[in-house]
């Protein structure tokens, strides 16, 4: 039986916690920022590098390394943008952090701003998250009133402003360069890389985009040191992380776990097993865009590297569990519909492929499937892989190819039944 490891959720799991500034200070809030301000920004970057913190948004890129790529001495301002456009289906961890413990996250954001010399940070929040937006804005107002933000936020004469910007409901605006376009007031279309945001990002200035959870890890790392953070996981997969567990489990929710627990433990120990004692059919381990795992494959360590080795990915750590009664073709249809709707449409393979794939899956549902169409579905999906500007093409392709290869009998059932 495993249990949660509380680092990010230490306040949220405390029933008597008061999320106001006063309450946060009572549990030791803003100590980390004070400590960070005593360091040089370069030292801070080194500490984060040493902690092995990897981005929690989906790609798992080392955060310290990302910061160190920021172009220096450009004469332009640097920007830290927090990507709170949590829109990967199944993911709901950032919402919890922003809603229930906003100061914890904001402290992390401020530490991040200090580390990369940012004077104005933006928090790009998913537009549908009204309560989180309200909570964040209230927290920011409190910080301004307390003088923690504004004129002397990062030491005497060092100004820091934070602005909450709400998205308008596009999945693609969670892609960092599309997010920057959207923040600039343009259509959210992913940009061609290079140049990477660290060189030319928001308003063509050096920019780092970090996830909410990533930034929320910072107070702990500064307070307790890089080694303490590393201890929470296996080599190269440092820290605890939040898992959004959903689907056919007894106790869905957001859980904080170490990186050395297995997917099976998360589902059966924390999630309480499959709903109604049914058998497991499969798990989507990292948000809708990750390749699916069958029931036999879930005894895998839930970390970036182990899942990568298992041919899938951790992504935004949204575990979606489906039981034996689930119609996999319908599930895939729902996923393809999502990507068809959310593709920005600029790249040919993704614009045309997501729609075509949806039509083929729809054909199966109508009973018009056949073996040729299954091959075609695999081909249409696979052809989106790696052929687009951003990762949405890959994200749309991976579930298609993995569902077709891992559950072929489900597709066959559709057309053999129709024939009979």
């Amino acid at each position: 039986m495993i249990e949660e490891t509380l680092v990010l959720f230490q306040n949220i799991r405390n029933p008597s916690y008061d999320k106001s500034l006063k309450g946060y200070k009572k549990v030791g809030g803003f100590k980390a920022l004070k400590k960070a301000l005593k360091m040089k920004p370069e030292e801070l970057v080194e500490v984060v590098k040493a902690s092995g913190l990897r981005g929690r948004g989906g790609a798992g890129f080392p955060t310290g390394l990302k910061w160190s790529f920021m172009a220096k001495n450009t004469g332009k301002p640097s920007y830290l943008i927090c990507n709170a456009d949590e829109s990967e289906p199944g993911t709901c961890k950032d919402r919890e952090l922003m809603l229930k413990d906003p100061h914890h996250f904001l402290e992390g954001m401020m530490i991040g701003c200090y580390a990369i010399n940012c004077k104005h940070g933006y928090i790009y929040v998913r537009g549908e998250y009204f309560p989180s937006i309200k909570s964040l804005n209230e927290a920011i107002d409190e910080l301004y009133a307390a003088g923690l933000l504004g004129e002397n936020a990062l030491g005497k004469g060092k100004r820091l402003d934070l602005t909450v910007h709400t998205g308008a409901g596009a999945y693609i605006c969670g892609e960092e360069s599309a997010l920057l376009d959207s923040l600039e007031g343009k259509r959210g279309h992913p940009r061609v890389k290079p140049p990477f945001p660290a060189v030319s990002g928001f308003n063509a200035c050096p920019t780092t985009v970090n996830n909410v959870e990533t930034l929320t890890c910072l107070p702990f790392i500064v307070n307790e040191g890089a080694e303490a953070f590393k201890d929470f996981g296996p080599e190269n997969n440092a820290g605890t992380h939040l898992v959004s567990l959903s689907g056919h489990v007894e106790k869905p929710g957001v859980y904080e776990v170490r990186m050395d627990v297995t997917l099976k433990q998360i589902i059966y120990d924390l999630g309480g097993g499959i709903r109604g004692g049914k058998a497991l059919k499969g798990v989507i381990p990292g948000g809708a865009s990750s390749p699916v795992l069958t029931a036999k494959e879930i005894d895998v360590e839930y970390s970036f590297d182990a899942l990568g080795k298992a041919g899938t990915m951790m992504g935004s750590a949204a575990v979606m569990v489906f039981d034996e009664d689930t119609d996999v073709v319908k599930l895939l249809h729902r996923i393809t519909r999502f990507f068809n709707h959310e593709s920005c449409g600029q790249c040919t393979p993704c614009r045309e492929g997501t729609h075509w794939a949806r039509l083929i899956v729809q054909d199966f549902l109508k009973g018009n499937g056949n073996e040729r169409k299954m091959k075609r579905l695999h081909r249409v999906g696979g052809n989106m892989m790696g052929t687009t500007v951003c990762a949405l093409g890959d994200a749309a392709a991976m579930p298609i190819t993995s569902f077709v290869t891992k559950f072929p009998e489900e597709f066959e059932k559709y057309y053999t039944q129709a024939a009979a």
Binding site: S343, T348, H355, W356
Partner: protein, 545 residues
């Protein structure tokens, strides 16, 4: 210059240049849709994929790269035709065509459509798409271009054009994903003055010129390089014509003049080239019964007779020329007056004009100076006159001969004063007040009907070439002037526009050292050019212009 290897060939590049543009400069075509050298790189059509087998450091790129967005690196090895790339192109073609209506037989782009070309070259020729195609509603986006959205392949060139080139932002992308489409904002029609360029840059038939729609299949059109004479910018164009009728003007890429663009006004000047009314089709002589068609011999002998009767002295001969005349014509006219009559009283309309200055290059193309060759007249040292009143005051009483080229200073007072002059000769392609006043009118030709050179506002000498046949009784203007010179016993050896230009470049300081050949199709800067004192920079072309 650093270089990289493209399909085994060495290609040089400038630091920071992309693979695609370096290859294009070297004359190697890599297929592409969304890339346009004048606009930002979006790398979205995915057609220009290449296989970088060595990134210059001995390692291959992990996957196919879009050559429009990838920096060329010293020692890089790139393959554009291997199996991997071919498969990728076939795939892109398949994806582009699944929703394309394939209505080539009724599409105006057919024949110059990149989608058509590439699907022959790179497509598989078959499609597995078995569902109904995407259909967008029909939209009217204004008077100059027609939008047929079903044909669109979403390269976003048009969107980028109004954002980056004209800065007018009236056109953009709407919706998302599979429903992505182009349209104008808030149902408004397009208003910018450069819409024709959107039809040019559209790789398919989604945006076509309304002027040209359904008039001719493009493969029937013959093409002759020329320039636009609509204003003093002298945008490089191609005259496209069939059966002696001009159907359209298309801008020709010239980085020193108009880049890839031209204005819609200029495009519409193609209509003038087809007008048959109002043209002077044959020599005309004024007789008691009115104007009569006469032969060239009769015209010349009548002129000779009259001149020997009048015996004009040097200050009794005046020349007027409009600046639609080419450099050669201006030069010959000047020589005719100087050596034939010992007169230097040659006037051209020299007015102040407005040059728009803007952050957007394209706005500088339209000047308020609608004379294609004023700079040439200034460089040849002709006398400028600000207005017809000024000219009227400069014509002394007792003037015996007035030579008028084209239709300069058309003004009632001046025309009626000219009526008192014993001999008025008009050399013109168009009928005007002058041809009605003149005793003898000699027909000239339009720039589409002759070889000539013009000097644009920045002192760039550019050539036009004979595209269509003129009325068979007209002669090229240089020939007409040479004929007059013969009458007056002026020494003249030139027997072609080229020979006139060579003489001109030998004798005139501004044109020194220029060769007819070296002007080529792109033009060449004059040896000496002083900024026009009549040039007024304005932030935007004023409404009165």
């Amino acid at each position: 210059m650093p270089s990289f290897e493209l399909d085994g060939k060495t290609v040089e590049f400038e630091p920071g240049e992309k693979i695609l543009s370096a290859a294009m400069r070297a004359g190697i075509q890599i297929p592409h849709y969304c890339y346009h050298p004048g606009m930002s790189v979006v790398a979205t059509c995915r057609m220009c994929m290449v296989d970088v087998i060595d990134m210059g450091n001995g390692r291959p790129a992990p996957k196919l790269q879009t050559s429009c967005s990838m920096d060329a690196v010293e020692g890089m090895k790139v393959e554009t035709m291997n199996e991997k790339v071919k498969d990728a192109k076939e795939l892109v073609m398949e994806y582009l065509l699944i929703n394309h209506p394939l209505d080539c037989p009724i599409c105006d782009q057919s024949g110059e459509c990149v989608l058509q070309d590439y699907s022959f070259e790179f497509g598989s020729g078959k499609s597995e798409m078995e569902y109904s195609k995407r259909v967008y509603g029909w939209r009217d986006i204004g008077t100059f271009v027609a939008l047929e959205r079903n044909r669109c392949i979403h390269c976003t060139r048009c969107d980028r054009f109004t954002r980056e080139i004209t800065g007018t932002n009236e056109f953009g992308m709407f919706n998302r994903g599979h429903e992505l489409t182009v349209d104008t904002y808030s149902d408004r029609p397009m208003t910018n003055q450069f819409q024709g360029n959107m039809a040019d840059i559209c790789p398919v038939g989604a945006i076509t010129e309304k002027e040209f729609r359904f008039k001719r299949r493009v493969w029937k059109l013959k093409k002759t390089p020329s320039i636009c004479v609509g204003c003093s910018t002298g945008c490089n164009v191609t005259i496209e014509y069939d059966k002696n009728e001009v159907f359209r003007l298309k801008p020709r890429d010239n980085p020193d003049v108009n880049k890839w663009w031209m204005c819609d006004q200029g495009r519409l000047t193609y209509k003038d080239l087809n007008i048959r009314e109002n043209r002077v089709a044959h020599p005309l002589g004024k007789t008691a019964e009115g104007f009569q068609e006469i032969s060239w011999e009769n015209a010349f002998s009548a002129i000779q007779e009259k001149i020997s009767e009048l015996q004009p002295t040097s200050n009794e001969v005046i020349g007027l020329v409009d600046t639609h005349a080419s450099n050669e014509e201006l030069y010959l006219f000047k020589k005719l007056l100087k050596e034939g009559f010992d007169s230097d009283q040659l006037f051209f309309p020299d007015v102040e004009w407005e040059q728009p200055v803007s952050d957007f290059f394209i706005n500088s193309l339209i000047t308020s100076d609608k004379n294609p060759n004023r700079a040439g007249a200034r460089m040849l040292g002709l006398k400028g006159a600000k207005s017809s009143e000024e000219v009227t005051s400069k014509i002394p009483t007792g003037t015996k001969v007035l030579l008028v080229f084209g239709k300069p200073f058309e003004d009632e007072n001046l025309l009626s004063q000219a009526g008192n002059i014993s001999l008025v000769i008009n050399i013109a392609a168009w009928q005007s007040g002058w041809s009605e006043t003149a005793d003898v009118t000699l027909p000239g030709r339009l720039h589409s009907e002759k070889d000539a050179t013009y000097t644009n506002k920045a002192g760039r000498v550019q050539r036009v070439n004979t595209a269509i046949r003129a009325f068979h009784k007209t002669r090229p203007d240089w020939m007409v002037l040479c004929g007059l010179m013969e009458l007056l016993d002026v020494d003249n050896k030139a027997d072609s526009a080229e020979a006139v230009f060579q003489e001109l470049s030998e004798n005139e300081k501004g044109f020194q050292g220029l060769q007819w050949e070296s002007i080529g199709s792109d033009g060449i800067n004059a040896a000496q050019f002083d900024e026009d004192p009549g040039r007024n920079e304005v932030s935007e072309l004023s409404k009165t212009a």
